[in-house]
Symmetry: none
Subunit: 131 residues, 4 copies
DNA sequence: GTGGTCTAGACCACG
DNA sequence: GTGGTCTAGACCACA
């Protein structure tokens, strides 16, 4: 379900947190969905339970998920986005985009291919929302 | 010129490496261009010279740049892309894109905004190539 | 176990890397074997932990060893040798052999002595394999 | 004539010195032979003349070559080998052999192939001596 | 002045 | 306890 790359220099706890947030942002997980149990997920990913528990705790503190004792961990309703209208995209988005393009270029993808793929993803996302 | 965020759990050396690779794949750095000096860049970014030197060394070993002893570090000609014709984009690109969207969503950006920004970047890239 | 000579102009990290690779190709270290800990080896050799860690990191990136987080560093299965059938030994091996003979001659060894020693090493290697 | 690899971490001055000593040890340069001029060799190898001059100076000081003002630099008669009978080959030769085997293994050669090649070289060397 | 090597010593991620 | 990251600061190789 989620994937973690032990050879990535980013700490695995950060990778896992990003993976979960990513699945929420892209609609693969929606509010109310149940996350895997800490023990199950740590076994699947070959991680220590402490590591997974730490991620869930951080996500809970960030208000992304909620843990119901005895029931499990669930995706919360998305909080209203901060209403900042004017953003410095060049400063904020640029490093994130650079990272994507850098990683993709190592795999042999060009900038055009990546953007093309993302446009396709976006369309899929919109269709799903309307359904 | 480049930017790193010390509060990002990704190691700064990895951030810097990604930033440089990103500038190459987006055409802001082209083969033959000279990178900033190790000392100059480390001062600009508030990093230790060792950290920058490590990035340059890794990029050199990856064949992305070439360093001429006593002269500086330069962007190399791009190697021929790996010849895999059919790629499993869903498996290869998806996690990278998810990570981008996850990080962007924390900043309050939607999927549409990110894709829109990247399309603008791509257009800029093409214009530069034709110039 | 390993040895480095600080008066050798070859950087000590390179010497150590060569020593480890040498022990693998001569069969003194086999896949699955655990390397000494970074701290233990650096103490034994009188080096800084960073220097040893750098060597392990380079060997990892080269695919020679694998490090399991929190557990240690281990020799990997040898990757399949590159499939080049006809090699230009004269061009590829000659400089490496010349370097060995040059260094040995400074110590007063003749070509015959060196070759004789290597044949003995090879025999030891074969005996070990059969055992 | 000589070769130097700028991507080798060993300093080029040390590489060049080893290359020259190697050609003497293996009989490709014999006493009385004239070495290339400093300027010619530095141009051929793409090095600074200072670097080559440094090597010649070190070889001269070591008694390996002799410089005749206005005439050039020449290989000297080999000095009598130091008469140490009992040597700790394991300690002295081992690191040198490990380096060779390590470098050769990166190129895909096995221990046997290297030893076999060296035995062939040795035979060639003996034949040349008798001629 | 350019990049490269090394040390001492601190702090982090993971099991 | 394991390896990984980073800093401060010294010294070396090369043009």
């Amino acid at each position: 379900m989620f994937s973690v790359d032990p050879s990535d220099p980013t700490p695995v706890y950060a990778q896992l947190e990003q993976a979960i947030r990513g699945m929420i942002t892209t609609g693969q997980l929606i509010p109310g969905d149940k996350l895997p149990t800490v023990r199950g997920l740590s076994k699947d990913l070959g991680l220590n339970t402490n590591t997974v528990a730490r991620v869930y705790a951080e996500l809970e503190q960030a208000g992304v998920v909620v843990t119901k004792r005895g029931a499990g961990t669930f995706v919360r309703e998305a909080p209203p986005a901060p209403p900042q209208l004017e953003r410095d995209k060049e400063r904020e988005l640029r490093p994130l985009v650079d990272r994507l393009l850098a990683d993709a270029s190592i795999l042999g993808y060009t900038m055009s291919e990546v953007v093309h793929y993302m446009r396709a993803l976006e369309v899929r996302h919109h269709l799903k929302e309307k359904a």
